[in-house]
Amino acid sequence: MPLLSIAIWLPIVSGALLLAFGRDDRADAVRWAALVASVASFVVTIPLVTGFDLGTAAMQFVEKHAWIARFNVSYALGVDGISVWFVLLTAFTTPIVVISAWQVIEERVNQYMAAFLILSGLLVGVFCALDGLLFYVFFEATLIPMYLIIGVWGGPRRVYAAFKFFLYTLAGSLLMLVALIYLYYKSGGSFDILVWHRLPLSMQAQVAIFFAFFFAFAVKVPMWPVHTWLPDAHVEAPTGGSVVLAAIMLKLGAYGFLRFSLPITPDASHRWAWFMVALSLIAIVYIGLVALVQHDMKKLVAYSSVAHMGFVTLGFFMFNELTTSGAIVQMISHGFVSGAMFLCIGVLYDRVHSREISAYGGVVNTMPKFATLAVLFAMANCGLPGTAGFVGEWMVILGTVKVNFWIAAAAATTLIWGAGYTLWMVKRVYFGAVANPEVGALADLDRRELAMLSIMAAAVLVMGVYPKPFTDVMHTSVVELLRHSSVPKLVP
């Protein structure tokens, strides 16, 4: 069965059907249909992990059909131990987003749900594509639904944020397009990523391609100094948009480094590793400090995302198995944790309509159930052992120590900054006396919100306590990736 195709097209087709037949006077039917479609899309991805062959680093569940004969482009899909987790993460996040919007979105419900379903299918496509052009098409196409989500359902400065998001990302990825075409030419007319992996290239060409990819992926990750679109996009996006942005769209950039930059330009990656490490450390330390002074909860979590993604890029460019696996684990756990943090902010925002930290205080008195879960996610965000946030950071720091103690020491300060900004926010928002009558009147979680946050909490705890299945599945692929990227492939 073409599982990957189903995972891509099921949400897209159901999104299109919702657009065609959904109406606001049947909003409940639309919501249920979206939920069923998103859950079904998640269910079809489960066999990808259960049926995964741990013994091989080759692509699995491969599908290949000719697509554009003139340029030798094929519709080629497949997953390895790395990408399979992102397919699952994407499919897992979509039902959560649908649930989170249940009562909040009342206008143009079908368009909202359809945008997220279509976006989900496109994102799965990015993670499965084995053809450079197919990857690019999915990668770029995700801009359209996200642009509309931010612009239509966003906050007061949504137009500015939507444009910034769109143009920043487009600017980065257009250079990548030139690099893809160049690789197509160099490989003698092939868009196959796996062929590109074996393609010998001169150092000069590698560096040029490396930086073309760098611009596309660094904007997406986002790395300092091209991160400035992210706080704006997060603050203005509706809750669901923030969740998808943080949980999945940021991973596109990091995934791009794994799938393109490291294997296709290994020598340039090694030569410029210092540069990537420097940018990562700036993200970890400087952005961590920036997060400390934020007044807006969404902005704070957005900056914390940039800092956490700094860990991911640091892990990739240390080139050892522990850091690379750690970085991938960090990507997955960040998907759960930051997604959950944004859901929590959404819960508060739906009631009080403010994201300012100063508008809250003593929420624990009126919303005990909610505060329990929120504090759990906050702990995961600062990397408490036993939660998902700990595993990745620990692996990356441990692996980095082996390479260079001082880099590891600088990176490890994140445990201080992370705890600083997260716990300080928790203290100001959740603890203390009830700050104002609005907080005093808050109602605790309803069943829908409780369900949604509990699922996230379960994911965070399971991954924190027992990360072995995650690392097992990715192990062979990571080893193969490192082996591949340590062999020079310069043409003399």
């Binding site: 657009l19 697509w67 554009i68 004969a69 003139r70 340029f71 368009q111 052009l133 690019y136 098409v137 770029e140 196409a141 801009l143 359209i144 642009y147 509309l148 612009g151 239509v152 949504r158 137009v159 939507a162 444009f163 769109f166 143009l167 487009l170 600017a171 257009l174 250079l175 397009l177 030139v178 075409i181 160049y182 197509y184 030419y185």
Partner: protein
């Protein structure tokens, strides 16, 4: 009558006869609201389109009338698309023209004659035939633009179009006469051979080339010969803008290929340099000026200039250091670009007419405000057009840009690779104003609360147009292959 002599130009002859039939029928029996004329015109165009399709299917190349005209697959394909473009334009234009007292027989006959001019241009194998077709097309279009006599804007546009168009024809004619003087022949293949001998005075050839390229650039609307484009697009009634901005681009592309490639490929080094400058200037000025516009027709005019610039880029890497290996790749990319651009342009102007009512022209970008609430479907269709013009996948505009960029990069000449990078950066500028239209439709509240209602045929065809742009974006292979075939066959003969 010698059947062999007539067979290759049967589509043109058929169109000429049928255009006369339509003109006469309209005089005696126009029917209510000129329905008879309209149906007859559409039926005639359908016959012509089918003939073109039939010839293209056959795939053979014929010369006729003492090699004055050539009927080859490229010509048939471009002719087919031009015919379809005119048919589409007439469907979109009819209700619009009817509500503005422009639904006269001339609308149909003149469009048919302008199409005849285009088909002659497409089939030209001789400098004089090129000029003949160009004038037939242009004169019909001048008259169409001027059809609303009492409207000062339209009259001004027609005057500008006429004066500048005449100037351009003069340029072209002057250049062609120089080529004739230098090579001693008016026929493309003879000129090609004469240039190939290398015994012709280069100064005269290059001088002639400059004028030919300038004339073509005028007709295509490339900077610095673009002045007429914004004024004519904005000033002409939208139905006429559609006729000016759609099919004629295909014909202008065809004569560009005929003159520069079939006739003067020996001088490619010279005209390629000129095209590089023209295209960079067009993309820069078109994209920058479009950002500042509030009138959507004017914005689309500047966007057309930028699109033409991108298309011309595809013609640049045809000959690399005297080598024509990449020629068919490059020219078919440009052809794909222009065909898809016309397809999208037709749709955008169709949308403007759909939103216009009697007494209200939806000409400002603000008239699209909140369209997503008034009509989600047509807002979606317009968004597809805009994303396609901006080159965002999965719409066909992306593959058009990809094809051209690919043609540039695969030459592996650093200069062309830099050209590709600058084209990419300039198209980022372009993305801003296209995406702004999407913003206006989706993020803003509607000011105009009239429901979107148009004639049913317009709505159906517009929807089909939008779906085509999206579907060709998902499966672009077929159309690409057709363009490649047409160009490869042209080189084979």
């Amino acid at each position: 009558m010698n059947w062999q002599a007539v067979y290759p130009i049967l589509p043109e002859i058929t169109l000429l006869v049928l255009a006369c039939v339509v003109a006469l029928t309209d005089l005696w029996w126009p029917g209510k609201d000129r329905i008879v004329t309209y149906c007859l015109a559409q039926a005639s165009l359908t016959i012509v389109a089918l003939l073109q399709l039939w010839y293209f299917w056959g795939g053979a190349t014929y010369y006729a009338m003492q090699r004055m005209v050539v009927a080859d697959p490229m010509g048939h394909l471009l002719g087919l698309f031009a015919t379809i473009a005119v048919m589409t334009a007439l469907v979109y234009a009819r209700p619009y023209a009817a509500s503005r007292e422009m639904l006269r027989g001339e609308l149909f006959t003149l469009s048919m004659f302008s199409l005849l001019g285009m088909l002659v241009m497409v089939a030209a194998n001789n400098f004089l035939v090129v000029y003949l077709g160009l004038e037939l097309m242009s004169l019909s279009l001048y008259a169409l633009v001027a059809m609303r006599r009492d409207d000062t804007g339209a009259t001004e546009a027609a005057m500008k179009y006429f004066v500048l168009g005449a100037l351009a024809s003069g340029f072209l004619l002057y250049g062609l006469s120089m080529m004739y003087g230098a090579t001693g022949s008016l026929e493309m293949n003879e000129v090609f051979k004469a240039i190939g001998t290398g015994r012709i005075n280069r100064a005269v050839l290059v001088f002639g080339t400059v004028f030919v390229v300038a004339g073509l650039a005028f007709k295509l609307g490339a900077v610095p010969f673009h002045m007429w484009v914004p004024d004519v697009y904005q000033g002409a009634p939208t139905s006429m803008t559609l006729l000016v901005g759609g099919a004629p681009k295909l014909a202008a592309f065809a004569i560009t290929i005929r003159l520069l490639v079939e006739g003067m490929i020996g001088l490619a080094l010279d005209w390629q340099q000129m095209l590089v400058l023209l295209s960079l200037a067009s993309m820069l000025l078109g994209n920058l000026a479009a950002i500042a516009q509030t009138n959507i027709k004017r914005m689309l005019a500047y966007s057309t200039i930028a699109q033409i610039g991108f298309m011309l880029l595809g013609l640049c890497p045809g000959v690399v250091s005297g080598n024509t290996v990449s020629a068919s790749n490059a020219y078919s990319s440009a052809m794909f670009y222009v065909v898809t651009d016309v397809l999208t342009t037709l749709g955008t102007f169709g949308m403007i007419m759909l939103l216009s009512r009697a007494g209200h022209e939806a000409e400002r970008i603000d008239d699209f405000r909140g369209l997503a609430r008034r009509s989600p479907w047509f807002a979606g269709v317009m968004a597809v057009f805009m994303f396609s013009l901006a080159g965002i996948p999965p719409t066909v505009g992306f593959y058009a840009k990809l094809a051209v960029l690919q043609a540039l990069v695969s030459t592996n000449v650093p200069g062309f690779v830099w050209l590709a990078i600058s084209a990419v950066v300039l198209s980022l500028l372009g993305a801003y104003y296209y995406v702004r239209v999407v913003k206006v439709m989706y993020f803003d509240e509607p000011v105009d609360l009239h429901p979107v209602e148009g004639a049913r045929d317009v709505r159906i065809l517009l929807s089909f147009n939008g779906v085509a742009v999206l579907l060709l974006g998902i499966l672009p292979g077929g159309l690409m292959q057709l363009c490649a075939q047409a160009i490869v066959r042209m080189f084979a003969t």
